[in-house]
């Protein structure tokens, strides 16, 4: 766990050091220490571009990992992740409505960026994800079957994606491009000022989630056993759905749908620590998630080049082979679920 924490800090610093513009290491530490560098633009790049991006990446990785972990335990399904409850799809629908339905023909990508800067895209994504969350929570309150909720969540995702598809079908090329770019995810959308909202909200979400460690451990024993132990499985179920829903809605609103991390990080954490005890896996997931997101962010920024890659391309392309390799190597997958 200590190594993981050190690595996370190292990669956080690497996120500050590496980028398209070459800035000497000495200047970067000077900037972080609050001094003025020789070139004023450097300070803006480090403090207003790299720092918020690194913080966003670390928190997003950690929070999505925790969402995946809680859902995998609750639904007893190794494939559960942020996308299964249809929350990302709900967020997409909200954004699609703002970007493609409201905007008029003739608008361009340049034009739409104006919308994103405004808080409207964030609000639309949050509203979309939250409506789906409410729907799921209502269902969860009525039916106790986890499988039922899982299936309904996936069905809602299909239905919502169909609506997004219709909007895409009838929208102009420029709006479509803006929407596609949003769908590829970005850690670069959050400004230093917005971090003041984002960071505390994510931390509150994570802190509340940590209260679920014990009930989740009991759930691992099986639902009947948990009930016999006096656990109110219904309230755990609803709490987990609300907590993950809140975190996913928050992250998708600010960063777009970030693929893969939520599903893969809990597996990595369990494999690395050879445990499924949430007292270990919970902090391990936070660290692994933050570390993985920071690594992906460095790769996506293509240090030394003028351009960059969309974050989802990197999380999936780099992350998927890593998980496959780990699973094949450790061959301990079956013990996890």
């Amino acid at each position: 766990m200590g190594t993981l924490a050190v690595l996370t800090i190292v990669f956080f610093l690497l996120n500050m050091l590496l980028g398209s513009v070459l800035i000497p290491v000495k200047s970067i530490f000077a900037i972080l220490a609050g001094k003025e560098p020789e070139i004023p633009a450097w300070s803006a790049i480090v403090l207003h571009t790299r720092l918020p991006m690194a913080v966003t990446a670390a928190l997003t990785g950690a929070a999505l990992g925790i969402c995946g972990l809680m859902m995998q335990t609750l639904f007893r399904n190794p494939l559960a992740g942020p996308s299964v409850l249809g929350l990302s799809s709900g967020a997409s629908l909200g954004v699609a409505v703002v970007m493609m339905f409201i905007s008029l023909p003739g608008g361009t990508l340049v034009a739409v960026s104006q919308v994103t800067g405004n808080i409207s895209v964030v609000a639309a994504a949050f509203a979309g994800a939250f409506s789906v969350l409410l729907l799921i929570a209502l269902l969860a309150a009525r039916f106790s079957s986890n499988t039922l909720i899982l299936i309904v969540g996936i069905m809602i995702a299909y239905a919502v994606n169909a609506l997004v598809g219709i909007l895409q079908f009838y929208s102009l090329k420029e709006d479509l491009q803006a929407f596609v770019i949003w769908g590829l995810g970005s850690f670069g959308n959050i400004s230093l000022a917005q971090l003041r909202i984002f960071v505390p909200l994510v931390l509150i979400g994570l802190a509340l989630s940590s209260l679920m460690i014990k009930p989740l451990n009991i759930l691992l024993l099986g639902e009947h056993y948990a009930k016999n132990l006096g656990l109110n499985t219904r309230s755990v179920q609803i709490l987990v759905i609300l907590l993950t829903g809140f975190l996913i809605a928050l992250i998708t609103a600010f960063c777009g749908p970030i693929a893969f991390l939520g599903l893969a990080v809990p597996h990595l954490a369990r494999i690395l620590f050879r445990s499924s005890d949430h007292r270990i896996v919970f902090p391990a997931t936070i660290l692994t998630g933050a570390l993985l997101a920071l690594i992906c962010n460095i790769i996506a920024r293509l240090p030394g080049f003028d351009s960059a890659l969309p974050i989802n391309a990197v999380t999936s392309l780099i992350g998927a082979p890593v998980v496959i390799w780990l699973i094949l190597k450790r061959n301990s997958f079956k013990s996890l679920v």
Binding site: P105, G106, T108, A111, L192, S307
Partner: protein, 385 residues
């Protein structure tokens, strides 16, 4: 048994329908008096700036070839046959024959409407992709009177309506990957128009000649092109005298990425002609660049001017620009209030801009060197307030 009979009958009908169609097709050809004769000697029509098409004339017909701007490869050819002209008998099969002047057209891009308008061809338009284009009162009238039909954008046309209009030609955007095969199979003549791929501002205007050719307005097109060219070149030489060329940044960031025109693009050429220096003018690309935010910030932070397009029914201010991204405040152009923009919701930049490079150039010169344009009122651009 009954089934077989029915099938046979359907087959029979099918043959009849096919024969009927053949007859119709023949009738059409006879109508336009197109005979086949030996290919006459072709002489190239001289074009000055456009790279996307070329024309050669012979007695009785013209050969129109569409070329890629980059490597001058012919990708489609048409044989335009005059009213009393003929088709050369050794014409390759893949060359589509178009009787001219063309009777009517469907325009799938707003710039086509601008070209038609400039040559007095508005009444030849029978269909457009979208009736929402910011254009002119005349255009809106024709749409509401039902003379111009809305047929939808690429890949989801109202195909039946489009075929029913029986346009002489369907003008499309020359974009790779878009499939107009259905329209061609339905017997329509589809011509990709690549005006917007020209990197020389006057090259775009010269597509007037293409429209002139199709609709028998070659002289009008030439005259109009010459007058725009004269205006453009006059302004260009006016701006060429400047001693100081301010540096200009273009566009805004989106999702951490910044889309900018390449160093040899249409915009870069125009900014240079306006006596300015585009920030990426050393770049060899004609298309667009997608760069990382910090790259653009590092290079653009000291740019003297900042220009972008936006699309909004509302007014736009420095405050709103800052709300989009607080980092914008670091730019020199932001601090010195030298940010200017064109609101494409209110101004027909995408519709008429291609045909009015002289107006755009005047706007740019006014922004960078107001002393050269005393009393001028910019048309497309305005300074941010």
């Amino acid at each position: 048994m009954y089934c077989k009979m029915k099938l046979l009958r359907i087959g029979h009908h099918f043959v009849l329908i096919c024969l009927f169609h053949l007859f119709l097709l023949n009738a059409c050809h006879n109508d336009s008096n197109i005979d086949r004769q030996t290919k006459a000697a072709l002489t190239a029509v001289n074009l000055e700036s456009a790279l996307g098409f070329r024309v050669a004339k012979a007695d009785g017909y013209k050969l129109l070839e569409l070329l890629t701007v980059e490597d001058q490869r012919v990708y489609q050819s048409f044989c335009l046959v005059d009213q009393n002209g003929f088709v050369p008998h050794d014409l390759p099969e893949n060359i589509k024959i178009i009787p001219i002047p063309v009777k009517s057209m469907v325009c799938l891009s707003a710039t086509h409407i601008a070209f038609a308008d400039a040559l007095g061809l508005m009444d030849k338009i029978v269909g457009v992709a979208s009736a929402d284009y910011v254009f002119s009162a005349r255009f809106s009238d024709l749409v509401s009177a039902g003379n111009i039909k809305e047929i939808g954008i690429a890949d989801h046309f109202k195909l039946e309506e489009l075929i029913h209009l029986m346009p002489g030609v369907v003008l499309t955007n020359a974009q790779e990957g878009q499939n107009y095969e259905l329209l061609r199979k339905a017997g329509l003549t589809v011509i990709p128009v690549a005006d917007y791929l020209e990197n020389d501002p006057l090259g775009r205007v010269e597509w007037l000649r293409f429209f002139g050719l199709l609709f028998g307005k070659e002289e009008e097109a030439s005259a109009l092109f010459d007058s725009i060219k004269t205006d453009y070149n006059r302004l260009k030489s006016l701006a060429a005298q400047v001693t100081e060329r301010p540096v200009v940044l273009s566009g805004k960031q989106y999702g951490g990425f910044w889309n900018l025109p390449g160093g040899k693009s249409y915009l870069a050429t125009m900014l240079h002609d306006a006596g300015a220096k585009y920030l990426w003018q050393d770049n060899p690309d004609t298309g667009s660049l997608t760069l990382d935010f910090e790259t653009v910030y590092y290079r653009g932070v000291d740019a003297d001017y900042w220009r972008f397009l936006m699309y909004s029914p509302d007014d736009f201010s420095y405050g709103e620009l800052l709300a989009e991204d607080a980092r914008y405040a670091g730019f020199k152009a932001f601090k010195t209030k030298k940010v200017f923009f064109c609101n494409t919701f209110k101004k027909p930049y995408f519709q008429k801009g291609a045909l009015e490079p002289h107006v755009l150039l005047a706007d740019y010169i006014f922004m960078f060197h107001p002393e050269l344009m005393p009393g001028y009122q910019p048309v497309y651009y305005e300074f941010l307030k």
